[in-house]
Every structure is written in structure tokens, then in C-alpha cells.
Symmetry: C2
Subunit: 244 residues, 2 copies
Amino acid sequence: MAKFFEIALPSTCVTCPHRETGFCGTLFESPSEYSRADRQPGWQRFFAARSGEQIVTRNQVSEDVFMLCTGWAFRYYQLSDGRRQILKFLLPGDLFSSIAVFEKTFHFSVKALTEVQVNAFARSEIRAKCAADPDVQSAIANSCIADAHDATELVTALGQRSAEERIAYLLLHLMPRVAAVNVIREQRYPFPLRQQHIADAVGLTPVHVSRVLSLFRDRRLLDLSDGVLKVFNLPELERIGSLK
Amino acid sequence: MAKFFEIALPSTCVTCPHRETGFCGTLFESPSEYSRADRQPGWQRFFAARSGEQIVTRNQVSEDVFMLCTGWAFRYYQLSDGRRQILKFLLPGDLFSSIAVFEKTFHFSVKALTEVQVNAFARSEIRAKCAADPDVQSAIANSCIADAHDATELVTALGQRSAEERIAYLLLHLMPRVAAVNVIREQRYPFPLRQQHIADAVGLTPVHVSRVLSLFRDRRLLDLSDGVLKVFNLPELERIGSLK
DNA sequence: CGGCAGTTTGATGTTACTCAATTTAAGTGG
DNA sequence: CCACTTAAATTGAGTAACATCAAACTGCCG
């Protein structure tokens, strides 16, 4: 199934602008610098953000649709009392939200987890491409379908499953996505998450996440530290975490 | 914002076929009778289902898109150990899932809560209308946006909030939707849910749901029994249940 | 009258949270 | 290279929230 960026973009602009030849666009140093600048039709627009920096805020309006090019970020829902629910971890090639192609008000926030680079597409251009090209149309539809399916599974995991199961589910869900954008050797996955992020994603406290991860470590299931996830016993992890 | 059924359908077929003049279609007595019959182009197709009857099963494939016409139903995700997560309660006018316009495999199940009647649209016809008419297109897009937003809020409620808050949230979320298809007098809402359904929707046990509802009753907040929800103190309910 | 499904109530158990102290790791400036 | 600082992870003790199990109660229907 073709991914959005494989179809909607000229091939020279698929990933990080620095790595491609024939790139024609602007790289802004920060989200705010990007948001001050004027649009130039036909040019690709990118911006960088530092680790921990907020990129999108809920109820913000934008004429652009964002895609992560490099690094990790996460989409979340902020409550006024400080709690937040992480909705999805974003990896290179991910749209912040597929549905954003159709609406200009974001109903979520996005924060950078590592240093990131973000591509900003003009929504009008995407929709024009979508109307003109059935392949683009189905790529976007597929992206929306995948988002909806992920949401269904996440709701089920949070509503029905224990702490161990939820954490196992999160890791299992991320592993193939990480593998799609990294070379994985010996079951070692780059994983720049703090335990706080895991806690906010699965609805637990960081303290409890630490206990569960220690338990997994003691059982020689996996080890998550120093930004690397090492999986020792995948079948057992799947037994715990799979939604079946 | 126009609803899907106000735009996609000839006005004679908007709701229950029996109540409309000029209706041209077929009403099947059960889901299985419907699924055995052949499609007749240009005819509306409806079927009835009894209370508790399963209408859609996960991984089922269909060329039709379903909309609930009368009664209540619910969409859910079934786990093999018997647990299930209710994803959404469906009311008259609701598509089983907006995203079903774009994919023919359901990734959820649907069961009737009361006696229901369901309208089956041919997906191909909807997509043709969608391509031809921008109003239909935006009605479907809006429906997808609303679904995505609901999913975000539900994930947040399940991940971050207490039993009381989740139940209050569920009721608050349903009340305006119920009010949109029923005349509400004196804050009395028809509510054909068993406590088991509430439990499966918010990720609690029926026993705990009973305790929380008793607590709400003792506090003169609301009373939910005999299929009727009576709200006595809406501001307090909103204070507890709102995601802010 | 008996049976059944749903709800309520009580007693007890488990999971996960809270609070606080300790350890570890990663800088940073001298 | 070594204090010093700071953020993150770990550990322990006590507690709150929710689950589990079982019994009793309700209304309804045959």
C-alpha cells in the first residue's frame, strides 16, 4: 500500500531536504520563524524544532498540513490540570494527522521528542492533487483508515487491558514502525522515549511504568534504557501485548 | 453543518421507510435475509434487526455502507477472551462508521441495542455522489472529522480519568445526541442501556458502574433506571465529566 | 408460583497511585 | 579530572481505586 509521501511529493523532496539533490525549498530554523514567513507557491517549506519544543497547539488554525521528515515527535491531548494523553508517536514520513487534510483547525497538540524537521504542505495543493490523482486520493484515504483503526485499538487497549498488556501493546505497535525507518540489527530499536512519555501514552504513572519495565527486564523479555529497546523474547511479548 | 443523510439521500428516504411517502425500496426482516438478497440498482435497501442481534462482525466484507434509521445500536471491538470495548453508541442518522465509505472490510462489530432498522447504501453509489457533489464530499469529510475527534476524546477519557469522570463524560457525550433525535422534556432522556453496556464503554465492571450510579443518585445528580436518564444537576455533571 | 436477567450490596483482594527517599546518569564549570 | 547540579529512574511503604466473588434483591414473564 503506497504511503502518502511516496505519491504526493516530487521524489527529490521525499525526506530530509539536506540529503536530496534537486531540492527546492526553504528550511526555517524554528516553528515560529516558519509561521512568520510568507508562502511562496511551488516551493517546499520545512522547519526544524528542538527536542521538547511545541510545534502545534490545540485549536490552532493552519493552511498547511504537516509531515514529520526526521526525528520523533508525538501528538497529544492536553487537559487543563496538566495531565495529557499521548495519542500517537510520530516517525519520519508520518502526517501529524491524516484528517488534517480536510480541516484546518487542529484538535490536538504536537511536541518534538528529539530534534526534528517538519515539512509543511499547503492544504490547498494537497487537495488539488487529491482531486486530480486517484492514487493520491487513495493514499490519503488509506492513511485515514489506518488512523481510525489505530484509534480503535488504542481505545480497546486503554479500556480493557492491564498495565503490562498496555505497555507491551505500545512497544509492539511501535516496533514495526520504527523498523520501517531504521535498520534494525539484533532486535535493537532506537527508542528515545522517557518513561513519562510511555506513562502518558498508556494512562499510567511513570513510577508504575518503571516497575513494569523492571519486571520485563527481570523476566529477560526486553530491556529499555539509554534510548534503545532490546527485545529478547518476542513471542512472549506478543503473547502479552497482542489484541486478539 | 449538514449531516450525511440530509445530503446523500432523496428526502423521501431519510428516515424509517414506513413513515415516508414516495418510498421506493425493500425492507428485509433480518440481517441474514438482507445479505442473501440481490442488489437492485436504484432501490433503497433496508433491514430490521431484533434487540441484541449482531449486525456486523469484524473482518466482514461488504459492498454496502450502513446507516442506522431507527433504534439504538453500538459499535464495538471484541477480544477473544470475551471482553469487549464499546466504541460508540449509534443513534438514528449515524453511519456505522464514516470511514466505511472508503474501505469494505469492517474492523469492528455492531450489535443492536433495541429493535433497529438499518439502511444499506451501495458504497459505489455513495462514492459516485461524493465525486460528483462537493456538498456530499464535505458531509462525509465532516463525519470523518467528527469520528476522529470523538476517538481522541475517548482515548483521553479512558487513559486519564477516573470512573466517575468517565461515566459522566459518557452521559454528557450522549445527551445532546439523544436530544437531536428525541423531544426532551424536563431533562428526561430515553436511555436503553444496561449497566453492562456502560461498563464495556468506559472500561469498568458492571458492579462498579452500579456503585457510581448509586452515588450519583444519592447526590441528587441524576437517576438512570428503567431506560430513562433523568438529570437533576447538569452543571455539576458537567463539572465532573467535561474534558477541559 | 418459579425462573430469569439485571441490579444492588457486602466482604475481600489486587492493581495501580501517591509520596518520599535513594540511586543513576548526564552534563557543566572549575 | 573532579565537585556540583539537574533530570530521570528506581525502590519502599502506605493507600485509594477498582476488581472479584458471592449473596440477596427487584421486576418481569411464563
